[in-house]
């Protein structure tokens, strides 16, 4: 526990840091900090990126996994967790050295500015913490009424499909509206042709044609259309979907956001050091922490370093104003495509590595070897990896009356992705879809097949509640 004097000291530094942030041009929401212990930090870090959330075993699993990783020194102890909300909430680990807490506070102001100004993040709701707290309370009530297992089963299924959304588009098609429009259209045509019309049959036929366009928002589709779900289940789907829409832009701006926060905390810390507010001993701790944060040579795992380098490059080449403009309008993919230029890739000594298995000193090891240094290909690889945060293959609902039996057909857009789906995950996830749809479900995709002339074969995976099917078509 920190002493009241130490808390007072942190507040004093907080005001200084805020002043510097303002001077540098950062534009922040009000910021609040809570000092907590590492156990609580572990919980926050494994709460699906939101501190107020429903209960789910996967959070418990991750909670124990992260503590294990710390204990075995496989992961660094946490430094901060911060939430994109207004006011912004940051959490600091009370067992960190004092100067690390200062670093964290400076870092959080960088995130805060990014939350408030990035166009994509502004699309998400700012009352997400309250929204989730309410949802968690409702889910508890559902558990009391329908049983822990029933709620858990629906929630696990919903989480399995959480990234099967139409990114950056929260509103749903209104199928009823579409049906009405089509009926009007048909009626007009029938009138013109002087034909009679069975309206009831027309409506039923149209309902069976849902969705009229392939629908990537699978979780939203199930929520609206599934014939089997109870209202409380639709609520669970709606919450998970809403949460995914909030998180998705955060994930897709992680490199920019972390780099931005590192860039600004470095500047703010430099000012504090220049003003002799930080002792030499503390400065050494700061430098040491800083180098650890930036040390990981695997680029995909180090958005702090990569993001910061790209920001420095932008500021040096285009000026600070351009940087503020980029932080307001870009996402990681465009950020890397546009500003991780060939010269910067060479300057940063980026490369593509391959992994091999080897046997050294009686031990099985992975060996990493530089395979390619071509800037264009390096950039493409980085962009590819950013596209997988989170990994959300393009899969769409195409038919809701497949086999004329109300079965659900999903179609994986292999042409766009040129990448196979993981078959184990596919089969298990189909079980979840089945749970939410209540009738057999199918997914069509393609797999490499050397016997086929194109090198690929179309495969139809199915699950009917008992058996899995795999058909070559």
């Amino acid at each position: 526990m920190l002493t009241p004097e130490q808390i007072e000291e942190l507040n004093r530094f907080d005001r200084l840091i805020q002043d510097w942030a303002k001077k540098f041009g950062l534009d922040c929401y009000p910021q609040e900090f809570d000092i907590i212990d590492s156990e609580k930090m572990a919980e926050l870090m494994t709460s699906g990126n939101l501190p107020t959330t429903f209960n789910h075993w996967s959070y418990g699993r991750d909670f124990e996994a992260i503590k294990t990783a710390w204990r075995l020194n496989r992961a660094n102890l946490p430094m901060e967790v911060v939430y994109n909300a207004n006011p912004s909430r940051g959490y600091i680990c009370g067992t960190d050295p004092f100067v690390v807490m200062l670093l964290v506070m400076a870092h959080v102001y960088g995130h805060n500015d990014f939350f408030k100004n990035n166009f994509w993040l502004l699309q998400g709701r700012k009352d997400m913490l309250g929204f989730m707290a309410d949802a968690a309370r409702r889910f508890k009530r559902y558990e009391d009424t329908y049983g822990v297992e029933a709620v858990e089963k629906t929630l696990t299924a919903a989480l399995a499909l959480q990234w099967n959304i139409e990114p950056f588009r929260l509103e749903r098609h209104d199928f009823q509206e579409q049906i009405e429009a089509k009926i009007l259209e048909t009626r007009a045509k029938a009138k013109k042709d002087q034909k009679t019309l069975d309206l009831k049959k027309l409506r039923t036929d149209l309902e069976k044609q849902i969705p009229f366009e392939p629908d990537r928002d699978i979780i939203g589709f199930l929520k609206d259309v599934s014939p089997t779900l109870e209202d409380w289940q639709r609520d669970i789907l709606a919450v998970v979907r809403e949460r995914a829409h909030y998180l998705f832009p955060n994930f897709r701006t992680k490199t920019m956001n972390e780099g931005w926060a590192v860039y600004w905390h470095e500047n703010i810390m430099d000012e504090l050091i220049k003003a002799k507010l930080i002792s030499n001993a503390d400065r050494d701790i700061y430098m040491d922490t800083q180098s650890k944060v930036l040390a990981d040579w695997m680029v995909a795992q180090n958005p702090y370093w990569l993001g910061r380098e790209i920001w420095k490059h932008i500021i040096k080449k285009h000026g600070l104003k351009k940087a503020f403009d980029v932080r307001a309008n870009y996402r990681d993919i465009e950020f890397v495509e546009e500003f991780l230029e060939d010269e910067l890739i060479r300057q940063l000594k980026l490369y593509i590595y391959e992994r091999y298995e080897d046997h050294i000193d009686g031990q099985d090891v992975y060996v990493y070897e530089i395979a390619d240094k071509n800037p264009k290909r390096v950039r493409e690889r980085i962009v590819d990896s950013l596209k997988k945060i989170p990994d959300a293959p393009v899969i769409r609902v195409t038919r809701s009356n497949f086999n004329k039996e109300g079965e659900l057909l999903l179609l994986h857009d292999f042409n766009e992705e040129q990448e196979e789906l993981d078959p184990e995950h596919l089969a298990k996830t189909l079980e979840h879809v089945y749970h939410l749809w209540g009738k057999p479900v199918w997914l069509q995709t393609r797999e490499i097949n050397l016997r086929s002339s194109s090198g690929f074969a179309s495969i139809l995976y199915g699950y009917d509640g008992i058996r899995h099917n795999k058909l070559l078509i």
Binding site: M1, I7, L10, D14, P30, E32, F33, D34, I35, D37, E39, K40, A42, T46, S47, N55, W57, S58, Y59, G60, R61, D62, F63, E64, A65, K67, T68, R71, L72, A160, W163, M298, V299, W305, L348, K349, L350, Y351, I352, Y353, E354, R355, I360, D364, Y366, V367, Y368, I370, A371, K373, V378, R381, I382, S385, D391, P393, E417, E419, L421, K428
Partner: protein, 437 residues
């Protein structure tokens, strides 16, 4: 003040972790038993750290087409090696390659694990069986009459009355028949009828003939002829109710071969077994003791520390261990007051198999369960014991073991190759309880 100190506890995280543990309970159980291997047997309790594989979360995702390839930064040219990392092997520390395949440590209360054990080993059934076996007679009280028993308990008067009741009918019947034959009232004593009936092997015609002779004075019943002849059906014995008390004493004999070939890994398996057996018995009995016996060419009692760390060279005489256990039981742990469990760990090398066979036959009747685990494979003792103890092979899941069971003894033997088999071994050792209705 925008910086505040909070003393929040990770309640939701703990709750979710508990739920996750419940969902992977089978895996936790199996691994709890592996990870217990280094825990001292006596005294310690509380929590056990268990490393488990987390339950997977599924979603539609792309296959692992990159084979661990990625982008890096730093000095070097194409073809240069820039790093190496240990491959996470089976049962190894490393988290799985695939995200979502988490390996994590979780803490489990020993009490919780013991609950599972009891569930798994059918503790209620065990108690029933143990209730029969472990009761100690304190005193007896007569509680009625039964038709079988031992001579000292024969209720003579009641038996005779029973016989008279039965025979009275016979005598009456014979008198009537004889009267018809003689056309006059016979003057024979009742005991004459009984004697004749008995003498004629209960054949009515023969009896009447004999009685006629007696009337004519041709035959005279001997002077000592019993007035009442006893039939088995007449016997009545005292019935006693055993005043018994539930015995809350159990002792487990940890017997181990400590000749050089019993290496650390083998001892670890033994240690793990004894830890579980000991703690399991503690759930069942109030007072549980453990006796450590090591042997090579001769046997001696040791403490726990020594038990697991003694290495002796020279020959191996398994019977010395069994004999010493037998002697200690007879002097210190009489089976009418103690529930005796004994398990012997060895690599199966034995210089006097015949003597060992005898010693096992002597020890088994003193034990509620006697077991032999041949660690590591390649030994021969189990092969020799299987026929002498009339053991049958059976299977528990995939674990093969041998057992011989009678009303008052249970002997089991198994070959155990790896730590994963400790759990099945425990189940097999305590399984006799499940066989009894």
């Amino acid at each position: 003040m925008s910086v505040r100190q909070q003393d929040w506890k990770p309640e939701r995280g703990e709750g979710d972790a508990k739920r996750h543990r419940d969902l992977v309970k089978e895996d936790v159980k199996r691994r709890a038993i592996d990870s217990i291997a280094n825990t001292p047997i006596v005294g310690k309790s509380g929590k056990v750290k268990v490393r488990i594989l987390g339950k997977k979360s599924y979603s539609f995702k792309h296959g692992q087409s990159d084979n661990g390839s990625g982008t890096g930064a730093g000095e070097g040219d194409v073809g240069d090696i820039v790093g190496a990392s240990p491959m996470p092997g089976e049962g190894e520390d490393g988290a799985g390659d695939e995200p979502g395949e988490w390996e994590l440590e979780t803490e489990i209360e020993i009490a919780e694990i013991m609950d599972w054990l009891c569930e798994e080993l059918g503790l209620p059934k065990l108690k029933k069986r143990e209730g029969g076996q472990n009761t100690v007679s304190k005193t007896w009280k007569p509680s009625g009459v039964k038709k079988t028993g031992i001579p000292p308990h024969l209720k003579k008067k009641l038996t005779v009355i029973q016989a008279i009741r039965r025979q009275a009918g016979v005598v009456l019947g014979l008198k009537e028949l004889l009267k018809k034959e003689l056309r006059t009232e016979p003057t024979l004593e009742d005991k004459a009828y009984t004697w004749a009936w008995n003498e004629s092997d209960f054949d009515t015609v023969k009896t009447i003939e004999l009685l006629k002779k007696m009337v004519r004075g041709e035959v005279t019943p001997p002077a000592d002829a019993q007035p009442v002849m006893l039939d088995n059906d007449d016997l009545r014995y005292k019935q006693f109710e055993e005043i018994t008390e539930y015995s809350s004493n159990a002792v487990i004999f940890a017997i181990m071969d400590v000749s050089g070939s019993m290496d650390e890994e083998k001892k670890l398996i033994a240690r793990s077994f004894f830890w579980w057996a000991f703690n399991f018995l503690r759930v069942t009995y109030e007072n549980v003791q453990i006796v450590f016996i090591v042997h090579h060419t001769e046997a001696r009692v040791t403490n726990e520390e020594e038990f697991f760390h003694t290495v002796e060279s020279g020959g191996t005489y398994s019977y010395t261990g069994f004999r010493l256990a037998k002697n200690i039981i007879q002097t210190d742990y009489p089976p009418d007051k103690w529930n005796v469990y004994a398990m012997y760990f060895s690599d199966g090398e034995d210089y006097d198999v015949e003597e060992t066979q005898k010693s096992v036959q002597e020890l088994a009747p003193l034990c509620s369960a006697l077991g032999y685990a041949e660690v590591g494979g390649g030994g021969e003792l189990l092969d020799h014991l299987t026929p002498t103890m009339f053991m049958n092979a059976t299977k528990l899941d995939d674990f093969v073991y041998y057992f011989a069971e009678t009303d008052d003894q249970y002997f089991m033997g198994a070959e155990i190759m790896m730590r994963e088999e400790i759990w099945p071994l425990i189940k097999a050792f305590f399984r006799n309880s499940e066989e009894v209705e």
